[in-house]
């Protein structure tokens, strides 16, 4: 059993230790293009005037990604933010923010602009990027509407463009409830082609 969630639901969520200490909040979600696995999070302070922290949280240190808080064992599991970025963003990768990036197919068709990223959190304690919520272009026939676009197992993205196979536009979902099935069908379709 797995569940889908938007990264916007995770960003800003408090990070709480099992002692009940509210130590930070989630700032950025960091994931790898090679497989879409979430490597961790960068953190920001909880105070009204606090900014980004130099500490980050690796996915392996997360005990639970609950609807209201991200639970960790204690403050010791928090690591340096450079370790989080190094773990997911390999040397040579510029590691851009995909929010606001344009989605292009491998045939050069603009499908829209990324407004959110969809995560799949499984019971096996894995967390992967499985799709984008996109403000659709005319190519999807629903100009400016928000739709869900499934992603293959291996992603290709930069801070400016994200690439998807042309077949992705045939598996667009209009709500998050039906998106899980669309991702499975899309990936099965790709396997069939390969």
């Amino acid at each position: 059993m797995s569940r889908l969630m938007r990264t916007s639901e995770v960003i800003g969520r408090p990070v709480v230790t099992l002692n009940g200490q509210d130590i930070a909040q989630i700032k950025d979600v960091v994931y790898s293009a090679g497989g879409g696995a979430v490597g961790g999070f960068t953190l920001a302070g909880r105070g009204l005037f606090s900014g980004p922290l130099k500490q980050g949280l690796s996915w392996s240190a997360v005990m639970a990604l609950g609807p209201d808080a991200v639970m960790i064992r204690d403050e010791d599991v928090v690591s340096s933010v450079t370790e989080i970025l190094d773990a997911s963003v390999r040397p040579g990768g510029s590691g851009g923010n995909v929010l606001g990036s344009e989605v292009l197919t491998d045939t050069g068709i603009l499908l829209g602009t990324v407004v959110d990223v969809i995560l799949e959190v499984s019971e096996r304690r894995t967390c992967d990027v499985v799709g984008y919520e996109v403000s659709a272009s005319e190519a999807l026939g629903t100009h400016s509407a928000k739709v869900f676009l499934p992603l293959p197992d291996t992603l290709s993205a930069s801070g400016e463009h994200v690439m998807v196979p042309a077949a992705a536009k045939d598996f667009v979902a209009h709500d998050l409830a039906g998106f899980g099935a669309a991702v499975k069908a899309f990936r099965k379709n790709l396997e069939g082609q390969g």
């Binding site: 950025d28 293009a33 995909v98």
Partner: protein
Amino acid sequence: MEWWGWLLVILVVAVLAVAAFWLIQRRRRAGGVIVDSSVSPGNPPQEGL
């Protein structure tokens, strides 16, 4: 200028400074989704495209 005029100026500057700092920190705290942009083994670079 009267003393209360200077006091008013100081108060306005202080409030504006706090508001500006808060806005800057809010922007710095705003989240994103950072991706590894390096080419993965499954998507080798294709020359000549």
